[in-house]
Symmetry: C2
Subunit: 156 residues, 2 copies
């Protein structure tokens, strides 16, 4: 039987909990390795964080304002403090933008960044999944550097 | 304004899409490296997959049957074929168990495995997030072995 199991506020809180954990992972990296270290030819964790930043607020702005400009991962953030500041600036913007999306809108297709035409809900679930995916990669980078990552369940 | 944005069927389909991708990642590993390779003292990808298997069906069975036995990650699965068979056997069980959970039940607290007392919805979101997290780690293992992982958006 069909059941409504997640509200907008619950999904937003779930995402912000993940964002709190991702922030701890950024903090756990030494400054140099954050911007220089990677495994197997992958991107540095700083580059992965820039991708997350270039998706979250710009993606929600696109959805709310119905604009389909491409996103740009190449953000001018060159230090750990830059990344953390950008992360913290995004937090209230995400809250404000997310809550402007109506129940009907979550089910409507939207051509995100002019490239990803899916229901708005799927686009937002992708933002969250993509963050968990890349953060998991950051955990491996930290472990291979001999640094203990934060516990996966630390979301506050 | 409060909005209902995810139904039980949508969350189940979302999870099964992730499970399809995780299956592709298992397949991408060479037999030997699946069971022996890791980075930074972490578990092998086979051990991570056993954890996922020991959580999904047993966790849903605990929720549906209201039992709180501990889970056991140490499953007797010694080959890639064993893991893939167990994965495929879990798929219809997850579908059947998941759809037995009522709308009200998703909001109720449950002491999962006798250890994790949270609303049922949060426990199930944890199952999914944990899979995405560990699969992201598998991507790093594959990349460091020179193997191209499947695309993150391949869910069918």
């Amino acid at each position: 039987m069909k059941a409504n199991i997640v509200t907008n506020e619950e999904l937003l809180n779930h995402w912000q909990g993940h964002r709190t954990l991702t922030r701890k992972v950024i903090e756990a990296f030494p400054e140099k390795e954050l911007f220089e270290y990677s495994i197997g030819g992958m991107r540095t964790f700083a580059d992965l964080v820039k991708e997350l930043l270039s998706i979250a607020v710009p993606g929600l702005e696109g959805i709310v304002n119905n604009t389909t400009e491409a996103h740009n991962h190449n953000l001018p953030l060159a230090t750990k403090a830059d990344l953390l500041n950008a992360w913290d600036e995004a937090t209230p913007k995400i809250n404000a933008l997310f809550m402007q999306i109506s129940e009907e809108r979550f089910q409507e297709e939207f051509n995100l960044f002019g490239a990803y035409k899916f229901p708005v809900l799927h686009n937002i679930l992708y933002f969250i999944d993509n963050e968990v995916h890349h953060r998991g990669q950051g955990y491996v980078y930290l472990r291979s550097l001999g640094i203990e990552p934060p516990f996966f369940w630390e979301r506050s």
